[in-house]
């Protein structure tokens, strides 16, 4: 399975309050509040960190097995992608 990279949309604004990321989607003027694991994934979505490394980071910080963490992470990424908050690439995106 090829490695994939997650990148935050350049159109969003976000902040972390009390360990929870609050992400503003300008397309629909919606504030999305993420839980702690979601926040870790969001903060790791720098376009340089492969999804496998994000999953490994989750397993380091949280009491979860890699198989479940990987499955949940992919499902969450799909949700973020549908909402236009992230893009997914099989190569490291070129620096803007």
């Amino acid at each position: 399975m090829p490695e994939t990279y997650l990148t935050q949309s350049p159109r969003v604004a976000w902040r972390v309050y009390d360990g929870e990321a609050v992400v503003l989607s300008p397309d629909d003027s919606t504030l999305n509040t993420l839980n702690s694991v979601g926040t870790l994934i969001w903060e790791s979505a720098d376009g340089m960190t492969p999804v496998s490394a994000i999953v490994a980071r989750i397993c380091e910080e949280f009491a979860v097995d890699p198989e479940r963490a990987g499955r949940d992470t992919l499902a969450f990424i799909a949700t973020l992608r549908v909402r236009g908050l992230v893009t997914v690439s099989e190569t490291i995106p070129q620096a803007r």
């Binding site: 503003l24 300008p26 003027s29 999305n32 993420l34 009491a63 949940d72 969450f76 949700t79």
Partner: protein
């Protein structure tokens, strides 16, 4: 919240806890920034 002897935090599947829809992006931005901050 720490689980067991491992010192690791309790796992909860990643999710969007809440979604707050605003009439305009400017209002959402103001909320995001808080009362004293800037967006």
């Amino acid at each position: 919240t720490r689980a067991g002897q491992s010192g690791k935090r309790t796992y909860e599947p990643p999710e969007i806890l809440s979604q707050e829809v605003f009439e305009t992006t400017a209002l959402a931005c103001k909320k995001l920034a808080g009362t004293t901050g800037q967006c």
